[in-house]
């Protein structure tokens, strides 16, 4: 069976001549939680903008459910792939929170009853039910980001792209985003996240793709990508493994990219030693 998203030898050059992607090959099966990481300007946002047709490859192909996106209208792609922008202000335009969230689902032809349910569920997920009638610009930046995320969730697309969803969020906001990612995965949706927050990446995603200068340089599970052998490659794209991965190596228990994995490995060693 073909993967849900197939990126075939894709290169992309912006009109000003910036080469943003070079020979990218990537397969994303349905229902996967995949994080895309890499230094600023490495091509992460450019790559995901190809998945919903905002950008079209200069060379190469993007297949969505086996169909080349070149022949597919952006409006159709919008019902398949939802994208929450890095900068919420590029996305928000309505006068009330409720209307903002309802716009997407209505636009893709969802029935009114379903729109209301979808809006309510999305606001609930991001914790903004109390602000349904607020003007989006009376919300602080962190809540505007959550609002932009709700607008995408409400469209109930099979594929959800999150560009830096934890930026500007406090501890509770990050926990909310983590729950949203796991809930989406539980309902069989594909979640593609871009993030500089390596702890969030290691805790919430099952696969990590590392980019540098428009190319994929590492692709594997968090334990593989944050293992000692990968540190030099990570550093070359301005990343470093999360703290528990570094401590795990120093403590001699292997690659343990999350607090929970490190505690588990150290506990097992303790039991084995006693």
């Amino acid at each position: 069976m073909t993967a849900e998203i197939v990126v075939e030898n894709v290169s992309f050059v912006y009109p000003d001549g910036t080469h943003a992607l070079a020979d990218v090959d990537l397969q994303i099966p349905r229902g996967h939680r995949i994080a895309i990481v890499g230094q600023n300007g490495s091509g992460k946002s450019t790559l995901v903008r190809h998945f919903n047709g905002l950008l079209r490859p200069t060379t190469g192909r993007i297949l969505l459910d086996g169909l080349d996106t070149v022949g597919v209208h952006v409006a159709h792609l919008a019902s398949r792939v939802g994208l929450a922008f890095q900068n919420p202000d590029r996305q928000i335009f309505a006068g009330r929170v409720k209307a903002e969230v309802a716009f997407g689902p209505r636009n893709i032809g969802m029935a009114q009853v379903e729109v209301e349910q979808a809006v309510y569920a999305a606001l609930e997920a991001v914790g903004l039910t109390g602000q349904a009638d607020t003007n989006p610009y009376d919300l602080g930046y962190s809540r505007r980001k959550l609002l932009a995320l709700a607008s995408v969730l409400a469209m109930r697309t099979p594929i959800v792209l999150l560009d830096e969803p934890t930026t500007g969020q406090d501890a509770r906001g990050v926990a909310r985003v983590q729950k949203i990612v796991s809930d989406l995965a539980d309902t069989g949706r594909t979640v593609i996240g871009i993030s500089h927050d390596m702890r969030f990446v290691a805790e919430s995603f099952e696969r990590v793709v590392v980019m540098r200068a428009g190319r994929i340089i590492l692709d594997g599970t968090p334990s593989e990508v944050f293992a000692r052998e990968s540190w030099d490659a990570l550093a070359s794209t301005y990343l470093e493994p999360p703290l528990p991965a570094r401590i795990g190596v120093r403590a001699g228990v292997g690659s343990t990219p999350t607090d929970a994995l490190l505690v588990e490995a150290l506990s097992q060693r303790k039991v084995a030693a006693s």
Binding site: Q39, D170, G173, L262, S267
Partner: protein, 287 residues
């Protein structure tokens, strides 16, 4: 320090503030002092009033956006309410949370963007060029100087916005999440550059930051803002290790979290596993 102690760079005494058209105050009874060369980090949950504190500390509220200000905000001992926008702009520089808000939108190159402020100060051309290059080097964007500011990635735009504030060389910097869109080593580069700037030029820095790992590395003091009030303040190491932080909606630094998780499992932290912050190899790999 001279015989007579100079006035602090920034001082807020019993400051309360409410926006235009609202009755409730967003900030309540804030006391805060920032001496020359000091870095104070501000943490707190969303909607605690952190960005408002930045606007008030920089004098933009009420000067530019109105609202009610009670108490006193002073830059170098001068009440900000007596300063014109031009005077204020030379004493304190503010970096907004969203870099796209900051960029002028009128410049065709990053060079022009960073030069915009110094030019507005009426500086001679040579001095403008010196400042642009100095600021660009400090935040590591020299290779972006010929680029179109509208075509930068989020992180690049944030670095350019910070560079354009630094080029004004204000005595006080107010930074609202200056590294939010930066990659981890970019975050560290900017953190180190700001720490060096404070140490070498005496610039005082007030910075809102969710990345407590970064504050643990560079801040002298940390203030926890909750519901518009200061819930805790003190030396950075002390405040950031406070077990009450998560309950206040603040993520503790990675090592504090990890130590707590280990302690809960009955495992003691072995000193040979440290230092907690950073991989030296990774720093070395940066050109």
């Amino acid at each position: 320090m001279s015989a007579s102690t100079p006035a602090p760079r920034l001082s807020l005494r019993d400051v309360s503030y409410g926006y235009v058209g609202t009755s409730a105050n967003v900030l309540q009874g804030i006391d805060l002092e920032l001496a020359e060369g000091r870095i104070v980090g501000v943490v707190g949950p969303n909607e605690a009033g952190k960005s408002t504190l930045c606007l008030v500390a920089a004098g933009l509220a009420p000067l530019a956006i109105g609202g009610r200000l009670d108490g006193t905000v002073e830059q170098d001992g001068v009440d900000t309410r007596t300063l014109s926008a031009g005077d204020l702009g030379q004493r304190v520089g503010i970096l907004f949370q969203n870099p796209v808000t900051q960029l002028s939108g009128t410049s065709v190159t990053v060079y022009e963007e960073i030069a915009f402020g110094p030019r507005n100060l009426g500086l001679p051309l040579g001095e403008v060029a010196t400042r642009v290059e100095w600021a660009a080097d400090l935040v590591g964007v020299r290779d972006l100087l010929p680029r179109d500011p509208a075509r930068l990635s989020g992180g690049q735009a944030q670095l350019v916005a910070l560079g354009s504030v630094l080029a004004l060389r204000p005595g006080t910097l107010v930074l609202d999440e200056p590294t939010s869109q930066l990659d981890p080593l970019g975050t560290r580069l900017v953190g180190d550059a700001l720490a060096d700037l404070a140490a070498e030029t005496g610039t005082a820095i007030l910075m809102v930051e969710h990345k407590t790992d970064l504050l643990a590395r560079m801040a002298d003091e940390v203030v926890v803002l909750v519901d518009g009030k200061i819930a805790k303040s003190g030396p950075a190491a002390e405040v950031l290790a406070d077990p009450a932080l998560p309950a206040l909606g603040v993520e503790p630094p990675s090592d504090v979290r990890l130590r707590a998780a280990l302690a809960e499992a009955g495992i003691s932290f072995d000193a040979s596993w440290g230092p907690a912050w950073g991989v030296q190899a990774a720093v070395g790999a940066r050109e």
